[in-house]
């Protein structure tokens, strides 16, 4: 392999890996609060908080788990439980599941967290946006 060919392959690999690594995550706005990362086993998680301009946040929690298991989830606001529920993941979709709720924008700093737990495997995903 010539040095030129080697350079092309290397660049392609790096760019391709970078594209794959960022593909599941949407582009966040300047005012948005976003936190993401890996769950306790194989899944990935993300929490996004978006002001709606009307005194509220749109709070969106997403888990990519590549399964079709049943997950418990909950959203807290400054430590208070705001919403909770149960959802079955859809392994064929891009995102396994996505939860969206609206929260009030209280005066001062808001700490918002999203937690999901796989009922079958016990895998947990916890993500929070602090000081929003």
């Amino acid at each position: 392999m010539s040095p030129r060919s080697l350079l092309v392959v290397t660049l392609s690999s790096v760019l391709g890996a970078a594209a794959l690594a960022t593909a599941p995550f949407a582009v966040a706005g300047d005012d948005d609060g976003v936190a993401r990362g890996a769950c306790s086993q194989n899944a990935f998680k993300r929490l996004r908080v978006v002001p709606d301009g009307n005194g509220r946040f749109d709070v969106i929690g997403v888990v990519w788990s590549n399964d079709d298991d049943l997950w418990d989830w909950r959203m807290t606001h400054d430590g208070d439980l705001s919403f909770k529920g149960e959802v079955r993941a859809d392994g064929d979709s891009d995102r396994s599941f996505r939860i969206k709720r609206s929260m009030l924008d209280f005066p001062g700093i808001d700490n918002i967290a999203f937690k999901a737990e796989n009922n079958r495997t016990g895998e947990t995903c916890f993500v929070k946006v602090d000081d929003f």
Partner: protein, 398 residues
């Protein structure tokens, strides 16, 4: 002004109704103790479930108060601020019901500064454990009135349109019916007039036949008997009998002439009023009643006024002859050049003054209306045992 006040009252009543429905049906079932205690999660849940149902066009803001302050507001500026209940709000929170206060009438606060021209309506509700809360909504009365107009305007067009349509449909029917009624009335009047004319013609024919036949024959017989009574050589007894027979025939002639006058009244003329009135009292002598007629100054009256005098006199004399049991009847007509006055006075039994209205007795009712129509006045004075006086006054210029 009144319409605007009524519209405001209606709008306020509607706003109160909306507030009570939202409080009881939307907010009430979502209340929890955690919400009252200030849990942010509980507020998020309440907001998530209720906010869409608070999206009423005329409702600009919703607050939920406890006795300690605001526990929820859909206006983020108001959340967790240190506001206090007003006296009116506290009264409703403690005693229940619904109250209202105009935002312009209360001190401004961050809670109300963007709510000019609205009315705050608050209704007491309770959590499942009985904690009292105040559901407060801010309403724009102007928006409510506009909304009502939007709702009612189509109905108004329908109603007005229906009325116009009804009017258009009914008008031709009314015109036809009116025309029919008018035509029927004219026909009835024509028939009545024809009947009266026929009756008058028949009366005239009978009177003429009696006058030209029986009356003339009796007059001829009277002359013959008078001539026979004057023949010389008759015994006193026969002559006396002839005179008596002649007198009886003359009395009969008088009665017949009076009857003729009743059957068909003569064409009364002012200058002949005295002789016409004399014919009226002709039957009196046969009844042993002393009757007299006196007429002065009637020449200035019109024939129509003379006919009116004659008709009233005819009715009064007839009553006196039939009912009064009078010994004298005096018929007097006089005029001062302005008013023609008829008086028919008898010395009969009279009648009680408190009986039926005198003018309505003995056929004088018809005369009363006739006199009124002619611009005159008819009065009847009578009392028991004092006789009766009938007085007619009619203006000569009338």
């Amino acid at each position: 002004m009144l319409a605007a006040q009524a519209a405001d009252r209606e709008a306020l009543a509607e706003a109160r109704t909306i507030n009570e429905v939202l409080a009881e049906s939307v907010a009430g079932p979502l209340l929890t103790e955690k919400l009252v205690q200030g849990s942010r999660g509980a507020r998020d849940r309440f907001d998530q479930r209720a906010v869409d149902q608070f999206d009423v066009q005329v409702l600009s803001q919703v607050n939920l108060w406890s006795s300690e302050g605001v526990v929820y507001s859909d206006n983020s500026v108001s959340i967790e601020q240190d506001y206090e209940l007003s006296a009116a709000q506290r009264e409703v929170l403690e005693q229940g019901g619904t109250g209202e206060v105009y935002t312009d009438d209360v001190p401004q606060s961050p809670l109300t500064e963007e709510a000019d021209g609205t009315v705050q309506i608050f209704t007491r509700i309770e959590t499942p454990r009985g904690t009292p809360l105040l559901f407060e909504g801010y309403y724009s009365l102007e928006d409510i009135e506009q909304r009502r107009e939007q709702i009612y305007r189509p109905f108004m067009y329908i109603i007005v349109g229906a009325l116009v349509l009804l009017l258009v449909m009914v008008t031709p029917i009314l015109r036809v019916l009116t025309k029919q009624v008018t035509t029927a009335s004219k026909e009835r009047e024509r028939l009545l007039r024809a009947g009266l004319d026929a009756s008058d013609a028949e009366r005239r024919r009978i009177a003429r036949d009696l006058h030209d036949g029986v009356v003339q024959d009796l007059a001829g017989t009277s002359f013959s008997i008078a001539a026979a009574a004057r023949e010389p050589g008759l015994g006193d007894g026969v002559r006396g009998s002839l005179h008596a027979a002649n007198q009886a025939i003359r009395d009969t002639l008088k009665s017949l002439r009076a009857l003729l006058a009743e059957i068909h009244p003569p064409e009364i003329q002012a200058e002949d009023l005295a002789s016409s009135l004399a014919d009226l009292i002709a039957p009196a002598s046969a009844l042993g009643i002393q009757a007299s007629v006196s007429v002065e100054g009637a020449e200035t009256a019109t024939d129509t006024q003379a006919a009116l005098v004659w008709r009233v006199a005819q009715e009064a004399v007839r009553n006196a002859l039939r009912h009064a049991q009078a010994s004298t009847i005096a018929v007097t007509v006089r005029s001062d050049g302005k008013v023609l006055v008829l008086e028919v006075v008898d010395d009969g039994v009279g009648f009680a003054a408190d009986a039926a209205p005198a003018a309505d007795r003995y056929g004088l009712r018809g005369m009363s209306s006739l006199v009124r129509d002619s611009g005159g006045r008819l009065k009847v004075h009578s009392s028991v045992g004092e006789g009766t006086a009938v007085r007619l006054e009619v203006g000569i210029d009338a």
